[in-house]
């Protein structure tokens, strides 16, 4: 496959794709020279260049160090658009709208669950609806779905899932403004009703882990994290509700691209001008999916709290299990950013990328305003994940964005071959990781070797100054879909 795109090395962690042909701006990729050799093997750099064709794109088309081939936009892609000249593109958000991850801290040391992992992991599998077409413990009514679409996490908290304090530890306060339930199709609603409060499948997971190493003590402490402490991570998105909204939007946006004369190097980059009714309608539907995903992760948070409390025979309040933060990986948002000395309102698309706002940013709740925003970067199920913190440099260079995770390096087919007849579950157990899943095949497709080493991805972001490493988490018990 490969690419012919020319790149110029800017420094050890930055590569520029110069403006050529119909690109309106250059590209900027965060990676090492070694990573670039792999990156060049597929068409991801072409995708970075393609995004640069879109009208109203400001400054550059970005890709983080977990870049890989996606739909239209590369995974790891970030692009900001001028509010008057720019466009909104569903491909810059993805099918799994507001796929994201949240982290809970606890008052428990790792030793509190010594010898309990086999049973505890079984209990987690039971407590969290997961697997193909996973359905929640409850099916929403139409009226409840209307409320979820607008209120997001707040609906879940009001319905008894979680604490009010969870909202200030969630991006957007767990509730994105601008949601328009009328913009959501009947089919999306049908897909969504039975699925709120379920993990889904593929690379979604719920993971009990521990803080293996702290790199930045004061920041870790401000996040409520300390070495040796148990943590829980939940990775999931908007389920069939979001996938349907994305699919519905592509048809409209392809027509709109023609209508507004937007030349597309790739059909999946279809877009409409931000001020157009088509873009506003998609934004309204997207926000509904964003809120659905927040409510989804919020509900599962309570399932985890209930489950651990029951299993350990301890009251939830003594376990702690506070939400550290919840971040989105696939989203388009209106944000204020400085461009050439002036504050401008831009529509920032993050597709497999995480917001990473610095200390002092007014969007951050009081809890984190003096520290900076927690950034969660999950790795594969065998190795580790990272907690980072946003920086000023990210605001200046990447619209306050950084990487989101490990990124696959092997196809599912290849992973199944490599997994072969290997006893994956036993092998992971021998490393101290208990994986439970409704599907052996999913676990085989998700073996650690199928993923890049997230430590490499994170190191680039850290060295480039976009976010700082705060702590490394390691898995103990993992529920996979």
């Amino acid at each position: 496959m490969g690419t012919n795109i020319k790149v110029q090395q800017v420094d050890e962690y930055r590569f520029r794709i110069p403006r050529e042909g119909k690109m309106r701006v250059p590209g900027l990729v965060y990676a090492t020279e070694k990573m670039m050799q792999d990156i060049r093997k597929d068409a991801s750099l072409d995708q970075v260049a393609n995004v640069a064709h879109l009208p109203g794109i400001v400054r550059h088309s970005l890709a983080m160090s977990d870049i890989h081939w996606g739909y239209g936009f590369p995974i790891g892609g970030v692009a900001a658009f001028d509010e008057h000249e720019g466009v909104l593109s569903p491909g810059g958000v993805g099918y799994d709208i507001n796929c994201g991850v949240r982290l809970l801290r606890s008052n428990l040391p790792k030793s509190a669950i010594d010898g309990l992992l086999p049973e505890l992991s079984k209990e987690m599998l039971r407590a969290i609806p997961s697997g193909v077409g996973s359905k929640s413990h409850r099916c929403l009514t139409d009226r409840e779905l209307d409320e979820v679409m607008v209120q997001g996490s707040a609906w879940a908290v009001d319905a008894g899932y979680g604490r009010a304090s969870d909202l200030e530890a969630t991006e957007e306060g767990g509730r994105m403004r601008g949601a328009d339930p009328d913009a959501v199709s009947e089919r999306a609603r049908e897909r969504g009703l039975p699925q709120l409060g379920s993990l889904g499948s593929g690379n979604h997971f719920c993971e009990l882990g521990w803080v293996a190493e702290v790199y930045d003590e004061p920041t870790a402490s401000a996040f409520g994290l300390e070495q040796g402490q148990l943590t829980v991570m939940i990775h999931s998105g908007s389920r069939g509700f979001g996938y349907q909204i994305c699919d519905d939007s592509l048809r409209t946006m392809m027509k709109a691209s023609k209508h507004y004369g937007i030349e597309l190097p790739d059909r999946q980059l279809c877009a409409a001008p931000l001020q157009s009714p088509e873009a506003q309608r998609y934004f309204g539907a997207m926000a509904c999916a964003v809120n659905f995903a927040f409510a989804n992760r919020q509900m599962m948070t309570q399932f985890v709290r209930d489950s651990l409390s029951r299993f350990l025979g301890e009251r939830e309040v003594s376990l702690g299990l506070e939400l550290v933060y919840d971040v989105c990986h696939n989203i388009a948002k209106w944000e204020e950013h400085e461009v050439d000395g002036k504050q401008r309102r831009l529509c920032v698309h993050r597709k497999g990328a995480t917001r990473a706002f610095p200390a002092g940013h007014p969007e951050l709740s009081a809890r984190y305003r003096s520290v900076g925003q927690p950034v969660l970067v999950p790795g594969d199920m065998g190795r580790y994940s990272f907690v980072m913190v946003g920086t000023e440099r990210a605001m200046k260079e990447t619209w306050g964005s950084c990487c989101h995770g490990a990124g696959r390096r092997m196809s599912r087919k290849a992973a199944l071959k490599v997994a072969g007849k290997r006893r994956i579950f036993e092998q992971l157990q021998s490393q101290g990781v208990w994986v439970r899943s409704m599907s052996k095949r999913t676990v085989a497709e998700e073996i650690p070797e199928a993923y890049k080493d997230v430590a490499d991805v994170v190191e680039v972001i850290h060295q480039a100054g976009l976010a700082r490493k705060v702590a490394r988490l390691e898995p103990l018990a993992v529920v996979k879909g």
């Binding site: 739909y71 077409g133 593929g202 996938y243 699919d247 879909g481």
Partner: protein
């Protein structure tokens, strides 16, 4: 059926299918069978029930994606798994009489988010054979 087939092509995060058939109608049926094979991990589908569907599309490639997403919805939303179909193509869409198995949700073994427009190809070769490539987001 004769001269129709499909294969799966390596793709980093998703499933890409390549399909070929002697006519465009047969191509659509073969692509649908490939999608059901992914969804059910190659389960055998009984041709015991029937249903119909109509859809609108803007061009042949869009029609292929629309068709696959309708077949997907029939499966995951209605529990009806396609085994075969009789398709009539129109300028702006298609009508289909679908044979398959109803109440078959329990045969679904894997998740497909959507058929996508990524790297989409549908073409008629000089030999008259139709070929297509579609990526499924899984």
């Amino acid at each position: 059926m004769n001269g129709s087939g499909h294969r799966f092509v390596d793709h980093t995060a998703d499933v890409a299918i390549e399909v070929w058939a002697p006519s465009e109608e047969a191509l659509l049926v073969e692509a649908a069978r490939a999608l059901i094979a992914v969804l059910t991990e190659d389960a055998c589908i009984e041709p015991s029930d029937q249903c119909t569907l109509d859809l609108e599309s803007t061009d042949e490639e869009d029609r292929l994606v629309r068709w696959l997403n309708e077949v997907l919805w029939l499966a995951i939303g209605k529990g009806f798994l396609l085994s075969d179909a009789d398709i009539s193509l129109h300028a702006d869409g298609l009508s289909a009489r679908i044979t398959g198995q109803k109440e078959a949700s329990d045969r679904i073994a894997s998740e497909i988010k959507s058929a996508t427009y990524h790297d989409l190809r549908l073409a008629r070769e000089p030999s008259g054979r139709y070929v297509a490539r579609v990526v499924l987001d899984v």
